[in-house]
């Protein structure tokens, strides 16, 4: 089963829920798909066994063959190429690797070269296998790095994917193909507002979902009303407790210290399993 953890709003506790869930079940593969700011390793303290560069392919122009006709720049939807009367500029960071320029060039003057966009890390923490990606600083596109992380999914395992905040391309790339998505929210106006956007995204994608309310007790009760009205299951509530926040602050998953929570997270996973098989 593939379970992804997302939220819309940042800082609601995605990574905390994902890690505590992963540590409470067996046969786990954890994929940290928040490649802009991967944090799961700070809680899991893994031994990293492999590091690999992640590349995209970007155009390289053979100036001897190029006659500056400009068709490549005209074709490119991402403004990754600029052609003047005597030179061609390529902006690799804007390139989406669609291959269009290579195909459109009448003189076959464009080839592809590798462009590093991030690093893939593979490791383990006990029996848990961890895969995560790290976007190179200054590179804008997270999606190719997430795709590379997801290429390592082992379907025979209980896969847990930790998503980036937001509701845009990195999140969609992460949750796409999940059997279930857990939406972590906090009972505040911001938490609810961004939860609603994520619910729309998941409905559109046809992925089943449920809600975990983190920091229960702060804010207001509106998130409960919304979930009731829309028939969205609330799978778990984690109360606002200073101890939980303190443990998180020094990289300790709270279910390791407050062991009753292991049962709660195990039950959460069982509940998800039931909802998926329905």
């Amino acid at each position: 089963m593939i379970v992804s953890i997302a939220s819309g709003k940042g800082g609601t506790g995605k990574t905390s829920v994902a890690v505590n869930l992963a540590l409470s079940i067996e046969n786990v593969q954890f994929l940290d798909c928040d490649v802009e700011e991967p944090n799961a390793h700070l809680l899991l303290h893994p031994r990293i066994s492999r590091r690999e560069p992640i590349y995209t392919s970007v155009p390289v122009v053979n100036e001897k063959l190029c006659d500056h006709c400009g068709k490549c720049a005209q074709f490119c939807q991402y403004n990754a190429m600029f052609v003047s009367s005597d030179k061609v500029l390529v902006f690799p960071k804007l390139c989406h690797s669609c291959d269009g320029c290579v195909l459109v060039c009448p003189r076959k003057a464009i080839a592809e070269e590798k462009h590093k966009v991030g690093t893939l890390k593979l490791g383990s923490a006990g029996d848990l296998r961890l895969v995560y990606g790290e976007l190179e600083i200054g590179e804008p596109m997270a999606v190719p790095v997430i795709k590379e992380v997801k290429r390592h999914i082992e379907r025979s395992k209980n896969v847990v994917l930790d998503s980036a905040p937001g509701t845009s391309c990195p999140v969609i790339e992460t949750v796409n193909g999940s059997d279930f998505c857990v939406l972590v929210t906090e009972p505040t106006p911001f938490g609810l507002h961004d939860l609603k956007i994520m619910v729309e995204v998941l409905r559109m994608m046809g992925i089943p979902y449920g809600v975990v309310v983190n920091r229960a007790g702060i804010g207001d009760k509106k998130v409960y009303g919304y979930c009731r009205e829309k028939g969205i299951p609330i799978l778990l509530e984690i109360p606002f407790q200073r101890r939980i926040a303190e443990l998180y602050s020094c990289g300790i998953p709270f279910s390791l210290e407050m062991t009753d929570w292991k049962h709660e997270f195990l039950a959460l996973h069982d509940r998800i399993g039931e909802l998926v098989s329905k």
Binding site: G8, K9, G10, G11, T12, T15, D34, E36, E37, N39, L42, L43, F75, Q77, Y78, H96, S97, C98, D99, G100, L103, V104, L135, I137, G138, E139, P140, M141, A142, A164, P165, G166, T167, S168, C169, P170, V171, I172, N176, T188, P189, F190, H193, D194, I197, M198, E200, V201, M204, M205, I218, G219, D220, A245, E246, Y248, S249, C250, G251
Partner: protein
């Protein structure tokens, strides 16, 4: 005119709370909510929309079923796996590159405009606001951020405001890059957690990469005193000024529930006092007091 971006790396550290407080304290300013896929600032500033326009981020391929011979060339060449088994275009994965249209031997594919969201120009109690809403599942948040910033610039010129305050998205990817490029200073709001520190370092590197002057603010500074000390020492070593430290206080959430900025809701609270101090320091850095 000066531009300040409030950013963080890690999500949920308090960017929007700080931005909204600055907006109220600064008066006659333009704020830009550049967290376009999860915008929250409007819930504190209650903008009245003056103008709105449709944002078309990219095109999307459309296959004419009548013409399509299902030869499979488009499917094979699509770099985004956006052509389905039944020769339909998946709107979620299509990035609008146009390769399928170029290669289709029977010209069955056209590229059509898609509505990716809306951009707004608004008035608030304390000034003006440029903001946007990306439609659920749409890409191109970087492009929409650029549009919001253009609107903010236009507003600032029109209304003769000397400052734009930008509420940035979390992370270090394209919408963040679009939010910080060319600004006068970036205020990174962090928290004293392992994740907060890790993500702060990455966003500070990003600012260095784009030559943006960095400032740091530690939120919920009393959550872990050792970690707060680590942030201070990291900043000292890298000659980055910590402009303020805000202790944890439930009043921030309470203010949010009431749809108010904390400086309006509870002007005498410790949080509001510190927010004012931070704003004075940031103002000074931006040399606004000399205008």
């Amino acid at each position: 005119m000066k531009q300040l971006t409030v950013t963080s790396g890690k999500g949920g550290t308090g960017k929007t709370t700080i931005t909204a407080s600055f907006a109220v304290l600064a008066k006659h300013t333009v704020v830009a909510d550049c967290d376009v896929d999860a915008p929250d600032l409007h819930m504190l500033l209650h903008p009245k929309i003056i103008r709105s326009h449709v944002f078309r981020g990219s095109k999307i391929a459309l296959i004419n079923e009548g013409k399509c011979t299902q030869c499979g060339i488009c499917k094979q060449k699509c770099a985004f796996d956006a052509i389905t088994q039944g020769f339909k275009v998946d709107p979620i994965t299509c990035e609008g590159c146009g390769v399928c249209r170029m290669l289709c031997p029977v010209s069955a594919i056209t590229m059509t405009d898609r509505t990716s969201g809306h951009a707004y120009i608004s008035k608030t109690k304390s000034g003006f606001m440029a903001h946007a809403k990306l439609n659920p599942g749409e890409a191109n948040s970087g492009k929409l951020v650029t549009l919001v910033r253009q609107n903010a610039n236009m507003l600032a010129r029109e209304k003769k405001c000397n400052l734009i305050i930008i509420d940035g998205p979390p992370g270090v990817g394209c919408p963040v890059i679009a939010s910080i490029s060319g600004v006068d200073a970036g205020l990174a709001v962090t928290e004293p957690t392992f994740s907060g520190i890790h993500d702060l370092k990455r966003v500070l590197l990003l600012m260095k990469h784009f030559k943006v002057r960095p400032l740091v603010c530690i939120n919920i500074c009393d959550m872990n005193k050792d970690n707060a000390a680590r942030i201070r020492s990291y900043c000292r070593k890298n000659r980055i000024e910590v402009v303020g430290e805000i202790p944890f206080n439930q009043i921030v959430t309470e203010a949010m529930v009431h749809g108010k900025t904390v400086v309006e809701y509870s002007p005498r609270s410790e949080v509001s006092k510190e927010a004012k101090n931070i704003w004075d320091t940031v103002r000074h850095h931006l040399e606004l007091d000399r205008d």
